[in-house]
């Protein structure tokens, strides 16, 4: 088997594991995802930040053990202003549509028509961006910082930035558990129950 084909089997396998875990976490449900933004269900935050901490700590460990060269891993380029504005636009789209791109795919794969609509909408939005690209190109490339990382731009020594992320996540988890316990006995009138979505 050629190296390229092998790589594509790996792509399929890693993608399948990704989709499987998202679905098991309940993130193929728009009601559950939207719950994060109405502070009714903080699963999105818990899953996402546990994943970030796991990969961050795991990568540091594998790098320290000499098993993985972290310098060989593709780091996203930072373009400060377009990524700030893109994040704001994305966040609006996320709560209007009820899914992000990956979870929309999982919703679609779970038979949900709203997942299909989000994915079709996403393709339409990408088409509009591409067609407008000549007019957007200047803005798109504003404030380039290259593959910048937090330890490079913040006045924090050594692994402090990574440790700060772990500490903030831990504080966030404790707060999320406290909040959900506090809410348990309150009425959730008006919102359908997350484990029993109304799907006629």
């Amino acid at each position: 088997m050629s190296a390229l084909a092998e790589n594509l089997w790996l792509a399929l396998g890693i993608g399948a594991a990704f989709g499987f875990v998202l679905e098991r976490a309940g993130l193929g449900s728009a009601v559950k995802l939207a719950g994060q933004f109405y502070l009714r269900d903080l699963t999105v935050f818990k899953v996402m930040f546990t994943a970030i901490v796991t990969a961050l700590v795991g990568l540091a460990a594998l790098d320290a053990a000499g098993l993985v060269d972290r310098a060989a891993i593709a780091l996203p380029d930072t373009f400060l202003i377009p990524q700030l504005v893109g994040g704001l636009v994305f966040g609006i789209g996320f709560i209007v549509g009820g899914y992000c791109p990956g979870t929309g795919c999982v919703g679609m794969a779970s038979g949900r028509g709203d997942g299909v609509a989000v994915v079709l909408g996403m393709l339409a939005g990408v088409l509009v961006f591409g067609e407008l690209y000549p007019a957007l190109a200047t803005f798109y490339t504003l404030t380039p910082l290259g593959p910048a990382t937090l330890p490079e731009v913040l006045p924090l020594p050594g692994p402090t930035a990574g440790l700060a992320v772990v500490a903030l996540a831990a504080a966030g988890f404790a707060t999320a558990e406290w909040w959900e316990r506090r809410r348990t006995f309150r009425s959730d009138a008006g919102i359908i129950h997350m484990d029993n979505p109304r799907t006629p």
Binding site: I14, F20, G28, F37, T50, V85, G86, F90, P101, M122
Partner: protein
């Protein structure tokens, strides 16, 4: 078809599993996991099929199409997203959660919810291209790598999501 769906995984256990999937992508392929890049490859291919000269004349789609010797549909990320669909389908099927339908609030109509979903998807799709990634390819992947742009994107998306949420509540009620 009427059996009770299984419970979802504990969110922290699911988060560890998701982190290990990301870590294996880092270790085995030298990259993270993404989704929205596949949408760009699909759209570039579609535009190329309908209007090839127009697609190749557009700097954004042209970058995906390259010299035309190979289809962007063979890109790593497109195959990975095909895997996401497959994995989601298998998981939903095994858990008794594959249910054709439209998730919405008890008083919201199907058409209302689908209109919100399409509009939200379009806004989000535009946002992913401006930011060069989505919740997986930028926020999750870049977040774990401590990328500056990833953390800026993540803070911006949650801020905007919380600010917008009260205005689109009717689809959930």
């Amino acid at each position: 078809m009427t059996r009770e769906p299984q419970r979802y995984w504990n969110p922290y256990a699911a988060g560890v599993a998701l982190g290990l999937v990301l870590l294996s992508a880092f270790a085995l392929v030298g990259r993270g996991i993404g989704v929205s890049g596949a949408a760009a490859a699909v759209v570039a291919t579609g535009v190329d099929a309908v209007a090839p000269a127009h697609a190749r004349g557009n700097a954004y789609f042209g970058a995906y199409l390259g010299d035309g010797s190979r289809s962007p549909l063979g890109d790593w990320i497109v195959v990975e997203v095909a895997g996401v669909l497959l994995g989601g389908l298998v998981s939903a099927g095994l858990a008794g959660r594959f249910r054709p339908g439209v998730e919405r609030g008890p008083r919201a109509g199907v058409r209302t919810r689908l209109a919100y979903a399409f509009a939200g998807g379009a806004i989000m799709g535009f946002g992913t291209r401006l930011a060069r990634g989505c919740t997986s390819g930028l926020a999750l992947t870049g977040g774990a790598l401590l990328s500056v742009g990833a953390w800026v994107f993540m803070l911006a998306l949650f801020t905007a999501g919380y600010a917008m949420a009260p205005l689109v509540r009717r689809q959930w009620t």
